[in-house]
Symmetry: C2
DNA sequence: TGGCTCATGTAATCTGTTACATGATTCT
DNA sequence: AGAATCATGTAACAGATTACATGAGCCA
């Protein structure tokens, strides 16, 4: 994808909350940001390197429990660069659901197969929901740090869309079962 | 992105409904499928070429109103290939919202700027909604072709999530205005 | 006549994934 | 002892966008 590179900003954003290792960043993306962003090691580590070259982060080699790790900290320059990006209007919000695609072409394969895809889609989000709900609840009580309040708003988004998806799946299932053209 | 190439299937899917030109395909993606899929000419035309080489589509050079166009039709082989893909489980549903990212890092820039992003997000989907609602209504009445019924299900998806997004935006705005930490 | 839409295509470039490589520590 | 997790990284490759190039017909 020849889109604007956003990995820089994602990493700076995460480091704006606290110093982290590349491994930590990956974990954060796989959990907290899972619903709206993701990335692989193959893009995280090289980006950390280039950010260091641009003096937007500093590296600190440490050893914790005999384990080597490289802790990255955002610099003033990095924070400035992040803020500049945050001020700019959003360029692209993208939703790419293969499930929707397969549904759209459903007439070519019939309702039985299509139902399976819908069921899997539903199950996936039903699986997510408890964790998201737990986060929202936790973040509601925790009226502390500012960053947590913003995290809470994104978690609320996750909760809402999961619930909407599940509702929609139920409707779709009813309709597909009713027609039963297998 | 070194993901599985889905452009092939998208084009075959669209051609499974009716013969089209590359230009038509682009239009369809920009309108009907806009909410869950998109692509540029730079991927459409080369894909059409490779599909022809694999005998999954046939080209028909025509002239309509003095305008040259190449009409592509799916072959039996192409249809088979499409069906095989449709049967396979979904590999990836991806949502990538820069807006959510900027919201998540909102503490770094404050609620004033963040509110602007939320407002734009809301406006965008408020703008989409009338068209989607019109589609849904039209497709509800039109109880004809099978393919339309599948299209209708995806339009219902669009309607639901747009409404959910707008609701969520209203909540977020209230919370951000209440705290007012600019 | 000028601007918009119709219509097809290519080359350069970007961005990121996948798969591989390595090795230590912690848990069971 | 073995599996899982912690931890960092690279090279090959894929997939797609952007920007450019070209030209005809339609509408005002």
């Amino acid at each position: 994808m020849a889109n604007e590179k956003k990995m820089d900003q994602v990493i700076l954003g995460l480091l704006s909350h606290e110093p982290m290792t590349g491994y930590d960043i990956k974990k954060r993306l796989d959990t907290t940001l899972r619903l709206f962003w993701n990335a692989s090691y193959g893009s995280i580590y090289p980006t950390l390197n280039s950010l260091e070259n641009e003096h937007k982060v500093t590296r600190l080699q440490t050893t914790y429990n005999g384990r080597d790790k490289i802790l990255y900290t955002i610099t003033g320059e990095g924070r400035q660069s992040l803020q500049q990006w945050l001020e700019k209007p959003v360029v692209k919000d993208e939703l790419r659901y293969e499930t929707l695609l397969k549904l759209f072409f459903g007439s070519e394969i019939g309702s039985e197969v299509t139902l399976k895809h819908i069921q899997e889609f539903e199950d996936k989000f039903k699986g997510e929901l408890p964790f998201i709900k737990a986060s929202v609840k936790q973040l509601n009580e925790l009226k502390g740090e500012n960053a947590h309040q913003y995290y809470r708003l994104t978690a609320m988004f996750g909760e809402k869309i999961c619930e909407t998806y599940i509702e929609w799946c139920e409707e779709v299932k009813k309709i597909l079962i009713a027609k039963g053209d297998c």
